[in-house]
Symmetry: C2
Subunit: 405 residues, 2 copies
């Protein structure tokens, strides 16, 4: 007997027939004698509709109320899935984030899971019941529903798996695994049988939509054996595991891209100590994550331009925050740009191979693509480019690093 967490995304529960299919898949594991917790997303399209309503009422909406509205999508799926299981003879009970509870911090709209009280679910396991858990949400210390940001149901699943000390966490989705690049862009992309936690963490952070970053982080910290599988085909997926379990290594494992970026240049800020804090402090207070940062010297020497990237959906709010704090920061103007993309190459092999970044710069230069910003870490190199070159850049790099299948 094993303890398993199965997570189904929005397209896997898009309508009643698919929910019935999910129930059948769960039944197979139950019939095999396993204890099963199921984590579900909202039926596809539902979350978009709810988000759209909130934005129509107020583009700068209150994040607490956004969470109250948007979290309902998963609650509907959880109840329906529990009923679908009951109709085929599988005892089941739904659980919302606040019922378990799944404790999060109070950063509404992109809350982080702090811990899970697994006692209630475990006691139902003793009674032979399947627990159907709402993904994407938890309970803040303010006794309000929080949501975890797009893709948050993956994180819910991994957190539940960690809390239950599950033997496996299977993420069922509309792709059949993790690829060397997005197959919709790169026809010759290959599915990876295995990938290390560290690489998957970078790929997820850098724009691969397969798993939410935080889910990989929790899996890595708690050593949760995580698999990405197709909801629709019975195929082996991709296992995310320790580096030691992977025999063959490429220097680069995958190319990620993200069009969810926006760039802001703050023109002519004073070149003095503390200026970065005065710019980024208010943004942090507003819950806006800053990614890449570059500071240039201005010709006159006394002032400087500062360029940074943020999530594209945060652009309007970020500009507002900077305008509100204009007097304290002191700058000449703001230059927003929402037509940028971030391209990244990732691989643990970089630790022992030099020249990975150089290959990247040469490849893009050969395609006449201008690089706007660069950041690097131990196992990745990211660059910012004009978003119209996204596909061209990803394909060229996929070939350059020998990833074409």
């Amino acid at each position: 007997m094993a303890r398993i967490v199965m997570k189904f995304g929005g397209t896997s529960v898009a309508d009643l027939d698919r929910i019935r299919n999910v129930a059948q898949r769960v039944k197979r594991e139950v019939d095999a004698g396993h204890q099963v917790a199921v984590v579900v997303s909202a039926m596809s399209g539902v979350t978009n509709q709810l988000v759209d309503w909130v934005r129509q009422l107020d583009p700068l909406h209150d994040a607490r109320e956004y969470d109250t509205v948007v979290a309902t999508g998963e609650q509907v799926t959880a109840g329906l899935t529990a009923i679908a299981l009951q109709t085929i003879g599988v005892p089941a009970r739904s659980w919302t984030g606040w019922q378990i509870p799944i404790h999060t911090d109070d950063m509404h709209g992109k809350a982080r899971i702090k811990g899970i009280d697994a006692a209630a679910i475990e006691s139902r396991f003793e009674q032979g019941m399947v627990a159907v858990v709402t993904g994407f949400q938890g309970l803040g210390s303010d006794n309000r529903v929080t949501t975890l940001g797009r893709g948050g149901s993956d994180t819910s699943a991994v957190a539940v798996a960690a809390g239950l000390k599950a033997d496996r966490c299977d993420i069922y989705t509309d792709v059949d695994g993790v690829y060397t690049a997005d197959p919709r862009i790169v026809a010759r992309a290959r599915k990876l049988d295995r990938i290390s936690y560290e690489e998957m963490f970078e790929l997820a952070s850098l724009g691969s939509k397969v798993l939410q970053t935080r889910s990989v982080e929790i899996a890595m910290n708690h050593r949760v054996r995580l698999a990405v599988l197709s909801s629709f085909k019975d195929l082996p997926g991709t296992l995310i595991c320790d580096e030691d379990e992977i025999v063959e290594h490429h220097v680069v494992s995958g190319i990620a891209h993200s069009r969810d970026e926006a760039k802001i240049t703050v023109l002519k800020v004073a070149d003095r100590p503390g200026i970065a804090a005065s710019v980024f402090g208010p943004l942090a207070d507003a819950g806006i994550n800053v990614d890449m940062i570059v500071q240039n010297i201005s010709p006159d020497g006394s002032s400087t331009d500062m360029t940074f990237t943020i999530g594209r959906t945060d652009l309007e709010r970020a500009l507002k925050v900077l305008e509100t704090n204009r007097a304290e920061i002191g700058y000449a103007d703001l230059r927003p740009d929402a037509t940028v993309a971030k391209i990244s190459v990732v691989g643990v092999g970089m630790r022992s191979h030099a020249g990975v970044a150089l290959t990247m710069f040469r490849t893009l230069a050969a395609e006449r693509i201008n690089i706007q910003l660069i950041t690097t870490s131990e196992i990745k190199v990211s660059i910012l480019i004009d978003e119209k070159y996204t596909e061209l850049a990803v394909r060229a790099l996929h070939t350059a690093y020998g990833l074409d299948g």
Copy 2:
């Protein structure tokens, strides 16, 4: 300064424009210096969609999961309404049933409110905030969401008003008050300026859809001044108040009808003590309310036929319960009939006027409408007829009691 509860039904919050209108109406009361709690229903159509999904998966669905699914509708409206208020400068916060909490019993799908902890809302009032409360739902002792049955948002509103000791509870709806009969059936129906709690309680129990019965009961017990008003027109509605506050009394105040009835005849049950308990005990255990009951003597003297009515939506479940308990009850057959309607005349004047029932029987006889069952109470007479005569019967009675406007 007064403390006011305003309740808006599904058609009043059907889309974002209507939710914006609701926000404007609330703002008027806030600008007048009042403390306001707003109770909202699901956007019209939403609850039906959710109920339909549940029924498609399983007509005999688990009531706990039904509640989990269906309660989401009001949560969406509450969040959106709070945002709509914030955008026009009214500080507002949404509250779900479990957050306040609104305590109910554990009869899922038609739970009864037991009490409300008003402290959280009152502390927000102190901060100048409007509380937007999800109607239709509460928290059971099992820590699960319960729903209060159709029209339950009225009950939520009155219970919140009672808990907050509000000066007024205004129910905004798609009709502009309480009428002597359903204006869609009786063109000459008149709007009542005032009606007593007792009469409104009977009208609501007997099929008038204007207010949920339980809401009137709570209003009566806690002496909540309750008004029914139009969401769309600025007109005086109907005040539900003490009998003493009403100057002019008619013998009959209104005619109610209900097509939500079904009749079951249990053929040839033993004519022995305890037989009623053996039939109705299992139905009560299943949470099925029995309304009218008649027991006939069978020709052979040793056995009897028993006829009773229940809600039409409970028919399938009731038959199943009776079939499950067939051995213990002992009967020859079950005859279900879902094509019946209940017509009722209501008026506190009946206490002092004889002959009200006789007028009813004569009027229906003149229209050649057969009466299947009869029940009476101090201030009402109800009869069960073939549902195809509903409109004919209501119109004839409206004229017979001198109610035509």
